[in-house]
Every structure is written in C-alpha cells, then in structure tokens.
C-alpha cells in the first residue's frame, strides 16, 4: 500500500500542486490578519476540476505554508499571522529587534519541519487502526462518540465554556435546516426547495472565515492604516548542533502538539503556549525566555505544526474535525468524494496514504521554499489587508457560487459572513459553531437510529463495552473540568 501510494505521487501535477500550495500559503500566512482557514476555504473551489490527490495536497500545502508564513509576521512585526503564532512572537520579535530576525525565522522553520514530520508519522500509525476499530461502531457508539467530541470542545476548547456551548448549539440548530435525516420531512425550509439541502458546508465556511474578515476589517479600518517597520535582517545561519541541543524541547513540543491536536476543537494556540511554558520551565536559563531565546521560538513552532497531523487523526478516521482548519479540510475531502470516517481507509486507502506521504515529504519543499521565500515574504508583510479585501470579496462570491452553481449558496455565504462578523466582534468562538454544524446532523441521525433500533430504550447507550467506555470518558472529562474549575483561584 505504501509503495503504491508513493507511486501515485510520481506525477508532475502533484509536485506543482504541492509547490503552488506551499508558496501561496507562505505568502498568505505572512500577511497579518489572513489565516490558513480563510485561505483554504477560498481555494477549495479552485480544486474542483483537479484529481483528489493533487487537490488535497494543494490545500494541505497552503496550510503548512501558512503556518510558517504566520511566524514571519509574528517574528518581524510582532503581529501574529495566525493566533497560534502569538507564542512565537514573544521571543521571535525580541530576537528580530536585536537583528536576529533571520535566525529566529530559521529556528521557526526547522522546528516546523520537525513538528510536521513527527505528527505525520503519528497520523500514519494511528489513523488506520482507529478507523478499523471504528468500523465496529453502530449508531449508539457513533452518537456517544460525537457527544464526547462536542463535550470536549465545550470543556477544553479554551475561553468561556458557556460561550463555547452556545456556539455548539447554534451550529447544531443550523444543521437542523433541510430534510430530516430519518423521515425526509422538511424542517425550517420556509417552503423553499433551496433550503431542502440545508446549509452547505463550504459556503458557510467561506462566509464565517473570509466574508466576516472583510466586514471586521471594514469596522476596524483605522487599525489598517499605518506604515509597517520591519527590523533589519543580518545574514545568519543555524547550525545542526544548535538544533541538536534543543532536541528534547522539539520532541516534547511535537508530542504536545500532536496529542492535543487529536482532541477535537482545541486548535493549535493552546499547545503552542503549553510547549512554550514547558520549554521555559525545563530551561537551564529560564530568564532568557521573553528576551529572545531560540528555544522560545522553536517550541511553539514545533507544537503548532504538529497539530496538523494530530488533528487529522480524528478528522479522517472518525469524521470528527480537530479544529477549524481540519473542518475546512474535511469539507474539501467530502467535495472530492473522499468522505472522512471509518470507511475512508477501506474505500480510498490508496488516496489517503498518498496524501499522508505527501504531507510527510512536503516538509522538504517547505524547508527549501521557506528559506528562499522568507526574504520575499518580508515585502509581503507590507501589503495591507485593505488592498486584498476587495479581491477576497470577489473570491468569496465566486467560491460560494461554484459549489453548486447556485446563487442561494452565495446568499448563505453572505449571511454566514454577517453572523461571523457579529460573533467574532462579540468574542464568541467560531470553531465550536463549525464543529456543531458538522456534527449536529450526524449526531441526531445516530441518536435516532439507535433509539429506533432499541424501540425507544435508552439502555442502548450503555449496552456495549464501547459505549460504556465512551460514557466513562464523557463523565471523566466533566469531572476533570469541574476539578480544574474548583481549583481555579477566585478573584
């Protein structure tokens, strides 16, 4: 399988897709305010006419490139291109101020590569066994698994649990619109055929992440005006021995990133800061952290890149997205006929392993292109989002239309954009909404199928070792969350 999958990669279009994706990602990620989620959502329509393997590789290349690109603006401007780069900015910008911006970016790049390789290996080792195990899941097991995933997002996603719960419920309620999954009855369709398919994922994603950004920037226009001053870059090198000295930091950060990434809804910001704190506490000279310590750059970068592979484990094996970006990637998989879930490896094993190998091997072009492009990307950081937002508006309209060749989807995108702007302005988190929207309908379907099977008896949800295990995990998660809440000092 691995050899056959590798042979699938020996194709010019795959190489072109990977290179275009990585370069676009680095450029987009370097522009402050534009993140990988928006970039991938906008680029999905471009991949419609492509084969599934190059299409997904293009999008994953954008993601990898954008994560590194985000560290460019974090290090040089102290403006994290992505939220997860905020931890990188602490020491990266301090290094840049003393003229070591180039060195900081090299550390970031090499740590990114280590994190990516580690998490890809874990992904390849865990995803298929997990999917094979999930083949035994019936509706009751799937319902309990999804309930557990939704609960984890609410309890451990960071920020206010109440806000996360509200967002999950908003997503679940939005998922109700359309035909009932069991009886086919129209629900909240207002008598319109257009509503019967429900809200399509891609237009909603484009609205929530791209159009809402345009509206938010229109609101905060004053913040966009102003000259960008980039500290001077001295020519520099990072020796292998310097990386070898921080091997434990890189390993532990990659481990944190990968395994926190597996938990749904937590994203890459939490592991980036966790790794930074761990690196600082393990350091022989913790006082250098915050003043330009190379380990302070390497630790969060290794962690936030390792999240990719980790988050793809539940996304591909169970159909449960790990964060907002993997939710978008899940949408792309579905559009290309590769429905994530337990059957993915059975039905499309070759394609999936080809994508895994490409993700692993793309570390090489990412490193090369990162070194070649970071001086170019410095100029990109000077591009103001206001120069790009009109183009993003046009691409958002095009992207939403092209999913079903329907203007109704463009209206959905615009509505999601307005809602996203309002929610982001009000500090409500968007990833729980997205995951609620994705999991709401299948959760309801599994729940009702299980109850139909049992004749309405709720005992089915504790009727097998798997469901009992999942109920135990759910109760344990609640208990852990409660314990930490009670231990939190009250002000």
């Amino acid at each position: 399988m691995l050899v056959d999958a590798f042979l699938e990669l020996l194709n010019l279009w795959v190489l072109v897709a990977a290179l275009v994706g990585i370069i676009s990602g680095i450029i987009i990620g370097a522009i402050p305010g534009l993140g990988p989620t928006m970039a991938i959502a906008l680029l999905i329509p471009v991949t419609f006419s492509m084969q599934p393997i190059p299409a997904i590789i293009l999008l994953l290349g954008v993601y990898q490139g954008a994560i590194f690109g985000g560290s460019i603006s974090a290090v040089l401007l102290n403006v994290p291109g992505t939220p997860s780069s905020a931890a990188t900015a602490i020491d990266g910008f301090a290094m840049a101020r003393r003229g070591e911006g180039g060195r900081a970016l090299r550390f970031a790049l090499y740590a990114s590569v280590v994190g990516n390789i580690f998490s890809c290996l874990v992904l390849m080792a865990l995803a298929e066994p997990l999917a094979r195990f999930a083949l035994d899941f019936g509706p009751a097991e799937m319902a309990m698994l999804m309930l557990f995933a939704l609960l984890v997002i609410v309890l451990f996603g960071g920020g206010s649990k109440l806000d996360a719960l509200i967002m999950v419920l908003v997503g679940a309620c939005a998922g109700v619109v359309g035909l009932d999954p069991i009886s086919g009855t129209p629900r909240f369709t207002f008598g319109s055929f257009a509503f019967e398919n429900g809200f399509q994922l891609i237009p909603v994603l484009i609205g929530l992440f791209a159009m809402s950004e345009v509206l938010l920037q229109a609101f905060d226009r004053e913040a966009l005006v102003g000259d960008v001053k980039v500290p001077p870059l001295k020519s520099s090198v990072v020796r292998f021995v310097e990386l070898w000295r921080m091997r434990m930091t890189l390993f532990l950060s990659s481990l944190i990133g990968t395994f926190v990434g597996i938990l749904p809804g937590i994203g890459s910001t939490v592991p980036a800061f966790m790794s930074y704190s761990l690196a600082r506490s393990r350091s022989a000279d913790p006082d250098t952290f915050g003043r330009g310590a190379p380990e302070g750059v390497a630790a969060p970068e290794a962690a936030n890149n390792a999240v990719t592979g980790g988050a793809l484990v539940p996304t591909l094996a169970l159909g449960i997205p790990g964060d907002a970006v993997t939710a978008v990637i899940l949408g792309a998989f579905m559009l290309h006929g590769l429905a994530p879930g337990p059957f993915l490896f059975r039905d499309h094993g070759l394609e999936v392993y080809a994508i895994f190998e490409a993700l692993l091997l793309s570390s090489i072009p990412t490193a090369i292109l990162g070194l070649l492009f970071f001086r170019v990307a410095i100029h990109v950081t000077r591009i103001q989002p206001r120069h790009l937002l009109p183009a993003i508006t046009i691409l958002a309209i095009f992207g939403a239309f092209s999913v079903n060749n329907s203007l109704f989807d463009v209206w959905v995108m615009l509505g999601a954009g307005v809602l996203g702007c309002l929610l982001r302005r009000s500090n409500f988190p968007l990833p729980p909404l997205l995951i609620g929207l994705i999991l709401g309908a299948p959760f309801e379907q599994s729940l009702r199928q299980a109850l139909l099977t049992s004749g309405g008896g709720y005992g089915i949800f504790v009727g097998s070792p798997i469901t009992i295990g999942l109920v135990a995990l759910t109760v344990l998660s609640l208990a852990i969350s409660l314990f930490f809440n009670l231990r939190k000092p009250r002000i």
């Binding site: 806000d163 509200i166 309620c173 920037q217 229109a218 609101f219 508006t393 309209i397």
Partner: protein, 154 residues
C-alpha cells in the same frame, strides 16, 4: 476597550449583549414556529421524531443564551462603536447583497467587480490604480471560472 459593569450598576449594552439578544430571539422564534415548520406524520413509531432534536437543541440554546444575557448584565461588554464604523459594515453588506440581487441580470463580472470596488472605497482606498484592481480580479475570476473550471457563472 470595554464597557464595564463592575461598578455595581448594570453594564451598557454592547456587542455581546446584542448578539446574545439576537440569538435568544432566534431560538424563541424557532420554538414558537416549530410546529408549523416541521410536519410530523406519526405512524406509531416509538422514540424521537423529526421535531424532538430541534426542540431539545432550541430549548438548550434559549436557556444558555438567557444565562449569558443575565451574566452579561454585570460584566464587561464589547462596545458597539460609533455610527461611522457600523455604517461601513452596513455599506459592505448592502453592496454585496445588491451585487447578488442584480447578478442574474448584469452577470457575475459586473456584480462582483461592483462589490469589490465598494469594499475598496469603504476601506479608504482612493488611489485609482488600486480601485481598478477589483475589476482585474473580477475579470480573471470570471474568465478562469468560465473557461478554466467550466463553471456556468451568471
């Protein structure tokens, strides 16, 4: 900047309260119109029907949003901002909506380019060269979409 309600009084309404209020209204409306929006044909099957999950989700949503509203009364809120800022958001939304409205008549190129130009103007762009940029992007997207991706754009 935030609007603080810690001084003992009730906080001034801000974005969070506005959003929570809108979500609560939507949830209450959903519950009110549940019977008319979801027809259930009972055939004697036991267990939940097409209305059960939406009813549960809407009740939960209404309850947690109401709790958020109560908690928001005495906590910091995000200020609504002045009318000019809100006006800019409304202008972008209205221009995009207008572009969609007229798109079946005028075509994708003019609709999308128009929306792009309004966004550029709203964001403070006054240089003619950069105002031409949306036209170029719209032209490239229209040509690429129609001929490259075979998408039947309006």
């Amino acid at each position: 900047m935030s609007i603080n309600g810690h001084g003992g009084g009730v906080a001034r309404p801000g974005f969070r309260m506005l959003t929570a209020g809108l979500l609560l209204s939507a949830a209450v409306w959903g519950l009110y119109s549940l019977e008319s929006q979801i027809q259930v044909f009972g055939f004697g099957a036991s267990g939940p029907d097409a209305r059960s999950f939406p009813r549960l989700a809407l009740w939960l949503l209404a309850a947690v949003v109401a709790l958020r509203l109560v908690l928001s009364l005495r906590s910091e809120d995000v200020p609504l901002g002045n009318r000019v800022r809100l006006g800019r958001v409304l202008a972008v939304t209205a221009s995009s909506a207008a572009a969609l409205w007229v798109m079946p008549q005028v075509g994708f190129f003019f609709g999308a380019a128009g929306a792009g130009i309004v966004v550029a103007l709203t964001l403070g762009e006054r240089r003619p060269l950069l105002l031409v940029l949306p036209l170029i992007v719209a032209a490239v997207v229209t040509l690429g979409g129609r001929h490259g991706l075979n998408i039947p754009l309006p």
